[in-house]
Point group: C2
């Protein structure tokens, strides 16, 4: 029997996929991500690790059921993954407490600054100097080096906060410094991301160009948050008065899409806009409703992003028996070493303020979802060739895997604090 129904893609060209196939694909991706995530958590690992591994398994390395880029299913899947990042950054923005961020003060700022600058420098210099796998010849070496450096700067606030919460140690000064620094890192990381990706597309690396992009990214973020903080409460009070909870959440998500689109139009990043939208709405009276209702939508699309990113991993490239495969493994190992070193050292920033430096340093290690976003953009723009992308991804995986294991040992040393 023919498969006839609702052939929304059946325009004319061959290779069109039925919507039923796309739905089955989505169901498979979501279930696989959640099962792998639950298994990872059962084994004391962050769920995101499992979701990535699910993507690797569904990708070309093993099952090969993820759609090819360029097919209709691939286009839809890539867009839904994109939607996943945008919504994830929106949620992170929603949960970012601007006041608390300003309060954590000098220690967090110093840790964040060193934790961004040092890994960036280490990664940049390593790539500029060292032997490395071949990359696309159209991309200048400096651009790739900057991108490699940038992928090392991220800190995943989600993973660290979750581990500290599991240990009952979110109340310690170290935890506050780590979370504060990780949030500042998110903002710095987004700015760096905007800079490097714009540069990557232009291909030209100039000081004025970097300055310009930096000004646009920071300027958009600041302007959006400042203006938004004034207007959004009135807008959402009005929206909430008209109708039901569904209208509030639709308005919130539309607001996120709108700021994302505007950020892109302004020459900055979609996710900068989404993050700004989250920060703005975190201050409205409707925050509780928005956060509660946004979670299912975020939960639906973010696994698609992680599966999509994991699906870009080709394990064959890491096969040491393959010509050049050993090189990729070596690069991955070196990047991981630099990634851990750079963040650990950040623990020793601000020497005039007393805190447990090892705990803070270890807490900054996981790259998590932000590192993946960097890697994915590098891959899509072609600045990171397939080999480098896989090395970077392995670095992200290993740091994300390592951090909870180490943090449990290091942060669990002393007695539990009285405050939960």
């Amino acid at each position: 029997m023919h498969l006839p129904f609702l052939p929304f893609l059946a325009a004319a060209a061959p290779g069109h996929d039925s919507p039923g196939r796309v739905l089955l694909l989505l169901a498979t991706a979501i279930v696989a991500a959640k099962v792998a995530g639950a298994l990872a958590e059962r084994w004391g690992q962050p769920a995101v690790l499992g979701e990535l591994i699910a993507g690797i398994l569904l990708g070309p390395s093993l099952f090969g059921i993820l759609p090819a880029a360029g097919s209709d299913a691939g286009t839809v899947f890539a867009f839904l993954a994109e939607l996943g990042v945008v919504l994830l950054l929106f949620e992170i923005g929603l949960e970012t407490d601007l006041k608390a961020m300003f309060k954590v003060g000098p220690a967090a700022l110093a840790v964040a600054a060193v934790g961004v600058a040092l890994p960036f420098l280490l990664g940049f210099l390593f790539w500029k100097a060292g032997p490395h796998p071949q990359v696309a010849s159209t991309v200048p070496l400096a651009a790739t080096a900057i991108f490699v450096g940038a992928t090392l700067t991220a800190t995943s606030v989600g993973i660290t906060a979750r581990v500290l919460s599991d240990l009952g140690r979110l109340g310690t000064p170290e935890a506050r410094i780590i979370v504060g620094a990780a949030v500042i890192d998110d903002v710095l990381g987004l700015v760096i991301l905007s800079v490097v990706s714009t540069m990557a597309m232009g291909g030209v690396v100039t000081a004025t160009g970097v300055g310009q992009i930096l000004v646009v990214a920071v300027g958009f973020l600041v302007a959006a948050v400042v203006i938004g903080k004034q207007l959004a409460p009135h807008l959402f009070t009005f929206v909430a008065r008209i109708k039901s909870r569904e209208v509030v959440i639709l308005a919130a998500i539309s607001f996120c899409f709108l700021l994302g689109g505007l950020a892109e139009l302004a020459g900055s990043a979609l996710i900068i806009g989404a993050f700004a939208a989250g920060i703005i709405l975190s201050g409205t009276d409707q925050f509780d409703i928005i956060e509660e209702r946004v979670k299912p939508v975020v939960a639906l699309f973010t696994p698609i992003f992680f599966v999509h990113v994991g699906g870009a991993v080709d394990l064959h490239l890491l096969d040491p028996a393959r010509p050049g495969g050993g090189g990729v493994l070596w690069v991955a190992l070196a990047l991981t070493f630099l990634a851990v070193l750079g963040k650990l050292a950040a623990g020793w920033a601000a020497p005039w303020i007393p805190f447990d430096r090892l705990t803070v340093g270890v807490g900054m290690i996981p790259r998590g979802e932000v590192g993946l976003i960097f890697a994915e953009i590098g891959r899509r723009t072609g600045v990171l060739g397939a080999e480098v992308f896989n090395a970077v991804l392995l670095m992200v995986l290993v740091t994300t895997f390592l951090a909870p294991v180490l943090l449990k040992r290091v942060a669990g040393r002393g007695p539990r604090p009285a405050a939960a």
Copy 2:
């Protein structure tokens, strides 16, 4: 400044749209739909009417900002609209009470049967016999006639139930008959839809073909519901035990996608599978969580569907000054007359059971979203040419607009029942 970010569609071909543009488009569509829906409700009309009109305004008739079919943005938008219908039918399934459906008994069944058979016959005969606008020559006349008849069979349970609820009359016997018949109509409609769309794609109309499809559609629905009712409670009790609320809702939506995909694979309709998934999950212990958490997701995507359908309306085709435009208006008027007549007459079914026949007949009039799904599939498969599609759409709009107005006058006559 260039627009460089996350160029997920920037593979190679021209005409690729940036994700930011798609996000702005989605934000525009959702906001326009909700504003128009709120205005419609303020004027005592169902929200769906406003959302359709928003689509007409954003479409080629006026602003022309909806993406063209075939572009990447168009592909993504069409898929999201598709997702909207699938989720809408999933929600309708969730809210369908199988037991109550069996209880409403002979009256509802008789009203539903007449309310499906009579409009279908009227539409079919009208199209077979009457003069009508030109349709694509590759489509047999009988196929189009069957489709036109099918579009007249739907009843929108949502709109009628909402109006009766607003009038405080959901407790009357008439209301129970209307809602029961409308639910049965949904099931019959879905089966008819599956039959006609399969036929439309094959192009051949044979009795064995129709029988085969009918058996598959009913068989899939019955088998899925019977088997699902046994397995799903265990599955979801297991899922709910592992983890948080988000996992339950992800499992529910994946289940909906899975059954939709399987229904298509079996040769039936996506929405039959989604509807079956909803009915199955309405019996699980996790129903409350699922329903609560599914609503924001449904609310996000269904407006996209209505805007997408409204966007297919080309008001220029209805312009009486255009050659043939008068014909379209005439056909729309005739179809509307038959649509109202057929459903009104259904009120006089089951003459041995006493109830207010005018109220029931009027309550069956609105075609609503189910009528739109029919029309849209007819348009996509090419069975309904642009002129017929616009006539059918006008019929859906007018019946949907008319029903609440009439129902208020007719059902509001007597005193309010004691039971709310």
